[in-house]
Amino acid sequence: MGKDECKTMLDALNKVTACYRHLVIALGSTSDSQNLREELKKTRKKAQELAVANRTKLTSLLKDKNISKDDRAEYERLWVLFTSSVELLEVDMKRSLEIGQDFPLKVPTRHLIQTGMTGSTTTVAARAMSVQNMKYEADANIDTVDLKELETEIAQVDQMMEEMEMKVQVAPWAVEAKQEAGAELKSTVSVGNSSVGVISICEEEPKETVEGETGLMKVFAGVIFTAVLLIAGILGYLVINL
C-alpha cells in the first residue's frame, strides 16, 4: 500500500538525515579526515536520492483527488515529516559547507579543533548507506572538490524546497501529531539502559535512574548484614561458654 511504502521511505530518509548530522558534527574536529569527507559526500548523495524519491511519491499521492479524508490527513502528516527532514538536511548541508571551507585538510599546518573525539565515523556512515563496510576510493583533494559540488547541491535542495512549497498546499498547523509527549520513552527501553552509566559521568546530578534495582540491593545488603550479626553473636556465645 502507498502508505506503508511512504513510511518506509520516510524512515530511511530519517535515518540518513540523523547519520548525516552526526557526521557533520565531527567536521573540523580531530575525527575529521579524508574518509570523513568522503563519507559526508556519499551520505549526502544518498539523502538527496531518498528525498527526491519521497517527494515524487508523496506529491503523487497528495495530488490524487480520490482519497478519503483520513488518508489525506495521514499523507499530510507524512508530508510535514518529510519537509522537516529536508529542512534539517538543508541546514546541515549549509553548515558543512561553511565548516568545510574553514577547515581545509590539505594545508601544511592543520588546525583541527581538539575536541576529544578520536574515533572514526565509519560505522555511522555504514549505517547510513546500509552497507557492512565502507569503501573509500576518493582522491586526495576531495575536500576542495567536494565543496563545489556541495554548493550546487545546496542550490538544488533550495530549489526543490521552493517548488514543494509552491506546488503542494499543505497547512502544517492543521496536522496533528500521532505521538503524545513522552512517546519516545515507550518503545526504546534498550537504548536508554545501555547509556545510563555513561551519562552519569558528565552530568552533575548523581541521580539513580533505575529505582527498583537499588531498592532490591538495599534489602539484599540488609539481609546479609543481619546474617553476619547472628553468626557473630552465636560464635561469641560459644566462645564465652566454652
Partner: protein, 468 residues
C-alpha cells in the same frame, strides 16, 4: 512548510565580529607547537584526550597576548560564556576557574553563530533524546520547555521522536569515549543556547523583528532620497576641532573660579562642615548677592536670565530704559513653552492681548514678517507658536540692552556692594573644632519616631560606625 526561524526576510545574516575573533583565537590554540598543552581525562575505565586545565588556558593567554592576569581570566571567561570551551566537572557552571579544573574545546558545529541560531526543532530533538536516555527524568525547566515545545511544534512532533531515536542509534555506533564526548558537547551547546532559568543569557538576541511591511524597495525614489539626505549632511555646519577646543578651554578657564570642587567654596563646603551658610548666601531672595554670583552674570546673557536675582535686577534696569515689556514678553513665552498643555490656549491669548495686539498696553517691537507668522499661528495655538517672536526679542535684548546693562551704573554698584564671604576659621583648640562627619541618615530619623528603645541602640551603633 514548517515555520522557518532561520531565514529572516531572505537576508543573509552576518556573523558577529567578536565571534570571528574568538574563533581565530581558538584555532590558534590548536597549534601543535604554540598551542595549549593538553592532557588526558580519566573516567573510571575510559581515557579521553584533549582536556586542559583552567590554569593552562589563562597562562597561554597571558603569554600569547602579553596581558595581565586579570585580563586573561576575563578573556578566558568569554570563551566559556560563548560556548567555545566547556567545563567538564561542573557543566552547568559556565565560568573559567584558573586552577586545575578541566575544560575541553567545543566542536565547530556547535560553535555560537548568529548565522545559525539554535532552532526550536533541534532543541526539541535534544530534549527528546535526553528523555529517552534518562527514562523521563528531565530537570524541571527542561520538562516545562519540553511541554511547551510539544504544544508549539506539535505538527512535527512525530518527526522529533523519530529523529531523536535515529540519532541515538547513530551515536551508538561509536566508541564509548566518543559517545561521552558527544553527549557532553551537546549538553554544553544547549546550556549556552537555552540557559536554565536564573543563569545569565550570554546571547542577547533581542526581540525578533519581522519587519516585512517596511521592506525597502530599492527603486529610483529611494535612491533620490538617499542622495538628498547625503547632500544635506555634507552641507552641515561643522566646527574645526581646534576652534571648538579653544573655546572649550576658554570656557573652563572662565568658570573655574566658580566651581566649588575645583576652587573650593566660601564660606565652607556644606557637605563637609554641615554649615549651610553657603546656600543661604546664594539663595534667590537674599539682600546682597555674593561677588562671584554677580560676576557670573557678565559671562553670558543666559547666565543673567537663569538667575532669578539677575533677572530682577535686569528688569529694574529695563524699566529705567522703558523697555521692560521685552523681558516680560520673553518670560511669558517661556511660561507657555514649559507650562501645562491644557492652559496653553488661554496663555497664548493673554500674551496676544498684552503684547502683540495693535495698541496693546505693552506692545513689543517685532518685525513685520515674524509678526505675520505669529499671528497666523495664533489661530491654532500650540506650545511653540510664540517661538519665533520670543527668539527675536531675545536677540534684541542680548544685542542691545544686555551690554548696556553691564556697563550701567546699576550693575557696577551692585558689583561693588557684593560681598565676599569669609572662610570659616578653624578653631584653634582641637576639641572646639566642629566634627566633620556626614549627617545622620534620614532612615534613622524615622526610626526614632517609631520606636524609642530600638532607636537608641541603632543611634549609638551608627554613631560609632560613622566615626570610623
Amino acid at each position: 512548510m514548517t515555520i522557518n526561524t532561520l531565514s529572516q526576510d531572505g537576508v543573509q545574516r552576518q556573523q558577529m565580529p567578536c565571534l570571528t575573533k574568538m574563533e581565530r583565537m581558538i584555532i590558534s590554540m590548536q597549534d601543535p607547537d604554540m598551542g595549549i598543552k593538553l592532557r588526558n581525562q580519566r573516567l573510571l575505565i575510559t581515557v579521553i584526550p584533549h582536556a586542559m586545565t583552567g590554569l593552562d588556558i589563562v597562562e597561554w593567554l597571558i603569554k600569547k597576548c602579553s596581558i595581565s592576569d586579570e585580563e586573561a581570566l576575563h578573556v578566558g571567561q568569554l570563551f566559556v560564556k560563548y560556548g567555545y570551551i566547556y567545563p567538564l566537572k561542573e557543566p552547568r557552571n559556565l565560568i573559567l576557574k584558573a586552577d586545575d579544573s578541566s575544560y575541553r574545546f567545543q566542536t565547530p558545529y556547535y560553535w555560537m553563530s548568529t548565522r545559525w541560531p539554535a532552532s526550536e526543532l533541534d532543541y526539541a530533538i535534544y530534549l527528546a533524546k535526553k528523555n529517552i536516555r534518562k527514562q523521563g527524568e528531565l530537570i524541571e525547566y527542561e520538562k516545562e520547555c519540553y511541554n511547551a515545545l510539544h504544544k508549539r511544534i506539535n505538527h512535527t512532533w512525530d518527526f522529533v521522536v523519530m529523529q531523536a531515536r535515529e540519532q541515538l542509534r547513530a551515536s551508538k555506533q561509536r566508541r564509548k569515549g566518543d559517545r561521552i564526548v558527544l553527549e557532553c558537547q551537546e549538553q554544553a551547546y544547549w546550556l549556552v543556547n537555552r540557559p536554565p532559568p536564573g543563569t545569565q543569557d550570554s546571547i542577547d538576541h533581542g526581540p525578533e523583528r519581522r519587519t516585512t511591511n517596511t521592506r525597502v524597495q530599492l527603486n529610483a525614489e529611494f535612491y533620490k532620497k538617499e542622495i538628498e539626505h547625503n547632500r544635506i549632511s555634507l552641507a552641515r555646519n561643522r566646527v574645526k576641532s581646534s576652534i571648538c577646543l579653544e573655546s572649550y578651554v576658554k570656557y573652563c578657564e572662565q568658570y573655574q573660579p566658580h566651581d566649588p570642587i575645583m576652587q573650593g567654596c566660601l564660606p565652607s563646603n556644606p557637605w563637609i562642615t554641615d554649615d549651610i551658610m553657603f546656600w543661604n548666601m546664594n539663595s534667590e531672595t537674599v539682600a546682597l548677592p555674593t561677588k562671584l554670583r554677580v560676576e557670573r552674570w557678565s559671562f553670558s546673557f543666559m547666565e543673567l536670565l537663569n538667575d532669578q536675582m539677575g533677572r530682577k535686577e535686569f528688569l529694574t534696569y529695563l524699566e529705567k530704559e522703558f523697555s521692560a515689556e521685552n523681558l516680560c514678553f520673553w518670560q511669558a513665552c517661556e511660561d507657555v513653552r514649559h507650562g501645562e498643555t491644557a492652559k496653553i490656549p488661554e496663555k497664548v491669548d493673554e500674551v496676544y492681548k498684552q503684547f502683540l495686539a495693535p495698541g496693546a498696553s505693552r506692545w513689543v517691537n517685532i518685525d513685520s514678517k515674524t509678526m505675520e507668522k505669529t499671528l497666523e499661528g495664533l489661530k491654532r495655538p500650540h506650545r511653540f507658536v510664540l517661538d519665533d517672536a520670543q527668539m527675536h526679542i531675545y536677540f534684541l535684548m542680548k544685542k542691545d540692552s544686555y551690554p548696556r546693562y553691564l556697563k550701567s551704573e546699576l550693575y557696577k554698584n551692585l558689583l561693588a556692594r557684593a560681598i565676599v564671604p569669609q572662610e570659616t576659621k578653624k578653631s584653634v583648640f582641637p576639641f572646639m573644632r566642629r566634627q566633620r562627619h556626614s549627617s545622620p541618615s534620614p532612615a534613622l530619623a524615622t526610626q526614632t519616631a517609631e520606636d524609642d528603645g530600638k532607636a537608641k541602640y541603632s543611634n549609638s551603633n551608627s554613631g560609632t560606625a560613622s566615626r570610623l
